[in-house]
């Protein structure tokens, strides 16, 4: 293994070790357990389609939980390292900034995978079907993108509050952008008006810059139809492309930082 790759692997390993020592697995496990109990309650109060109701609630809430936990963990971990001057210490060694950044990203990506596996395991308790595998893969791809986004934000903003606010706003907008596009082009809105056209154009431009997260990790895959390979291939391409873009944007920012 080339020396740089070895250094990246070491940083990734320490990122994972940090997650273990900050009790991330226990936090995630506890919250997943609470959501599972809540899903049992939903199943109990539903008068029809009880399993469908339970799995729908559990899938949607696990998705949000993992996104929330991962983005908070990434932000908290990086801010702690900035505050402890750990970044300066590491970069004072024979390690390029890209090596440090990629190592951290690799570690967070592994945590994203582990969180997706945990969510998939909890889902398996409710639904014993191959659809859970597709759902888990999609969640892992979504979390990979969220990890890259959170890392980029914390490198740019350095503080938790603005970084997390940006991550959540970005995530919500990326999930809603398809619906927003539909709303912006309603024929009821008088298409001849310049303001209607300008807003539709602006929303289109925004949609081109954002990943369409409304196509990721759908509950309908679990309760209705399993997605095809083509769907997953698109999701993989979108996730990898956007994560790479965010990593490069984060690297750009890190290289410009005067530490």
């Amino acid at each position: 293994m080339p020396l740089l790759l070895k250094k990246i692997a070491i940083i990734a390993r320490f990122t994972l070790l940090e997650a273990l020592r900050t009790r991330l697995p226990w936090i995630a496990l506890t919250m997943a357990g609470i959501l599972f109990v809540a899903s049992l309650f939903v199943q109990h109060i539903a008068i029809a389609e009880t399993t469908r109701m339970q799995s729908g609630f559990l899938a949607a809430s696990l998705r949000l939980l993992t996104v929330f936990v991962l983005s908070l963990h990434v932000a908290a971990s990086m801010v702690r390292e900035f505050n402890d001057k750990g970044v300066e210490l590491l970069l004072a060694l024979d390690l390029p900034r890209a090596g440090y950044y990629l190592g951290r990203f690799a570690g967070f990506a592994a945590i994203a995978g582990a969180l997706a596996l945990l969510a998939g395991a909890v889902m398996l308790i409710v639904i014993q079907s191959s659809a859970v595998a597709w759902w888990t893969i999609s969640l892992a791809l979504e979390l990979l993108l969220v990890a890259a986004l959170a890392l980029f934000c914390v490198i740019t903003f350095v503080q938790i509050m603005p970084a997390i606010s940006f991550v959540l706003a970005f995530y919500l907008l990326a999930r809603a952008i398809s619906a927003v596009r539909l709303l912006s082009q309603s024929p009821l809105l008088s298409p001849s008006e310049w303001s209607t056209r300008a807003i539709a154009w602006l929303v289109d431009a925004l949609a081109w810059l954002l990943p369409d997260l409304s196509r990721f990790t759908l509950t309908t895959w679990l309760v209705d139809d399993t997605p095809g390979l083509r769907t997953l291939a698109f999701l993989a391409m979108q996730s990898l492309l956007y994560s790479a873009l965010l990593v490069c944007a984060g690297l750009y920012d890190l290289y410009r930082k005067s530490l």
């Binding site: 350095v158 503080q159 949609a207 081109w208 810059l209 990943p211 492309l241 690297l251 290289y255 410009r256």
Partner: protein, 244 residues
Amino acid sequence: MSLAPQRPVSAVPRLVRVLVFVLLASQVALTALQPRPRARAEELSAPPPLPVLRCLSGGDAVPLAQAMTLYLQAFDNQPGISIPFAQLDYGTVTAWLKRILDLDPRTQYPLLMASQLYAQVPDEAKQRQMLAFVYDQFLVDPDRRWQWLAHAAILAKHRLHDLPLALEYANALAQKANGPGVPHWVQQMHIFLHEDLGEYQTARELLGGLLSSDVVKDPHEIRLLIERLEHLKDAENSSSTSGN
């Protein structure tokens, strides 16, 4: 946020700078190559129950009602479908509209959608369903929702050619919508519908009662109604003459 001075752009490796632009262009290309999102009529599912919506709203129901309105509206917006409203399940649409009104009783938007959009489809059963919805909701708050039932009465008369239905709505308007903001013509609608039905005597009695009630104060309006009363008397006389 960091206010520390930044290093020059030249500090960033050329590969990173190139990759940022290449990947950004790839992202734009990937999204632009995807088909535009398109709503389909069959995708509109029943709205969640009211207690669930109240729970989701976190105590602030108006923004949720507004979001639901816009969501429902997105299903009307279906490029490539010539008559989108007609393809919707009107039972579901009515449930959505009712839920929105339950969350935000002061909004007029769902009633506008019901009477001006969904009631325009070339399907009589669906038109009647929407008019019935407007009527039911008018009864909940007549002084604030009278204009939608007035529109429904006009639709019933001119579009459905159902004068008894129009008269039922106009009677409800005359009896229930009596608030200070309701114009007088709303209370007069049923009189002219009686006239259209050939019930001249009823129309004359109602108009006479309206004039003597001192509700109408504008001299121009009073003169117009007196002329109308005379016209009704003539029509009643000529109809009784032709009857003989």
